[in-house]
Symmetry: C2
């Protein structure tokens, strides 16, 4: 088999944040799979087949991509940000676990700039000390697990990056997450809402957590809660390198 599958991260949106490694993989691909808005970011050219699909189609998309790679094609699955952070890489390995016939394929993960790093860079250095990243979607895990992790993250005094905070079908969770963090004593911490970061629609808000409203987040928002030592300096916010 001469086919190949790359699972590539397109970064947060700005073309200047796509790595040369990913650009090169796309330049020699025969097929590109991904969630429709991410595939729309891939430069079109003759001979390149695009296979856009809906959200929540991750396993079907991974299966089809592996099947084409096994036929000898050069396949790229694109994710926004980094493919290994709440994105397509885990879905591919889930499929691979059930499909030993594909485990010998040339499969590579091509890292990218994940949303929390781009959001942090825009506002200063809120992830400059120990931190964690939590996916707030409860599509694949029970809500109590998310609450437990938020409480422990607050107790550990991590800065907290929250992915997928709120969608049309999950309006309640993020409001509860804010309550959990207030109960855990984080009300005075800085919370950052970074919407569509590095794109023309970018919009960033920073407030004290106790002033935050659930409606400040949507699915295109990356939320960062500072640790107890995080502070503002002029227009910037950062976590000091010393222990909080």
């Amino acid at each position: 088999m001469t086919g190949r599958l790359s699972i590539a991260g397109l970064g947060p949106g700005d073309a200047a944040l796509v790595t040369p490694e990913v650009t090169a993989a796309l330049a020699c691909a025969t097929d590109v799979f991904g969630y429709t808005p991410y595939v729309a970011r891939v430069p079109v050219r003759e001979g390149l087949l695009l296979h856009p699909s809906d959200n929540r189609m991750e396993l079907q998309r991974a299966t089809e991509a592996l099947r084409l790679a096994a036929e000898g094609r050069s396949v790229v699955i694109v994710s926004s940000g980094d493919p290994g952070v709440f994105a397509m890489a885990a879905a591919v390995f889930e499929v691979l676990e059930t499909a030993p016939q594909w485990q010998g394929l040339d499969i590579r993960v091509l890292p990218g700039v994940t949303a929390m790093l781009a959001a942090a860079a825009r506002v200063g250095a809120p992830l400059g000390h120990d931190f964690c990243a939590i996916n707030l979607s409860d599509n694949l895990k029970p809500w109590p697990v998310i609450e437990k992790r938020l409480r422990l993250a607050a107790e550990a005094d991590f800065s907290i990056a929250m992915y997928n905070p709120r969608s049309a079908s999950r309006l309640e969770g993020f409001a509860r997450a804010l309550e959990v963090l207030k109960d855990a004593g984080c009300g005075e911490r800085t919370i950052i809402f970074a919407h569509a970061v590095t794109t023309p629609k970018e919009r960033i808000e920073m407030v004290a957590l106790q002033e935050a409203q659930p409606e400040m987040a949507d699915m295109a928002t990356l939320v960062i809660v500072g640790n107890s030592a995080t502070r503002r300096v002029g227009r910037f916010v950062y976590a000091p390198r010393r222990a909080s």
Copy 2:
């Protein structure tokens, strides 16, 4: 003032992982500051002044870079990986807090591919579910804070990325970190040692945590401990998207 300061991430080592944004900033810089081995990765050209300095000189380096930017020069401070993750961005804002005369300068943070994302990509998707990042250096925080965070991270069932695990002057800490994680019930979890990832000296080892030896890590090693659900598939390791 027409000067500018960019704090830029060079990625983990491979030139194909340097973003076009960072390449462009370096191409129009007059001065580049950074830890000597990172400055050595910047392409030399006529008119570009290099200012390499030693480790632990972060605040002096930030001060000098800000001073030159205030004089009207185009200054770049380079970090390995991402500048906002245990790197130079926080040091710059620390200096800025004490120097209001520089707070109006054009200061930007340019994100990069941080080591944990590159290491994760090399082995599969071990950060595909909720995770945390902890700096194991106790130069700037007391060791008990590190131990507490490791215990809480284990209780939260985060995958755990550990930066700066071990240096010549800190030989004991990483051995204690392994003991803390064993005590916390993580002995059977997969631990990944990614040394000099994406460079010609790259070396990756994966074992069960209870089999790990402290000598498997040095300062050029990024360590990832999987969560309780992390598993191997052929040559890959990944964290399933469902709750562990």
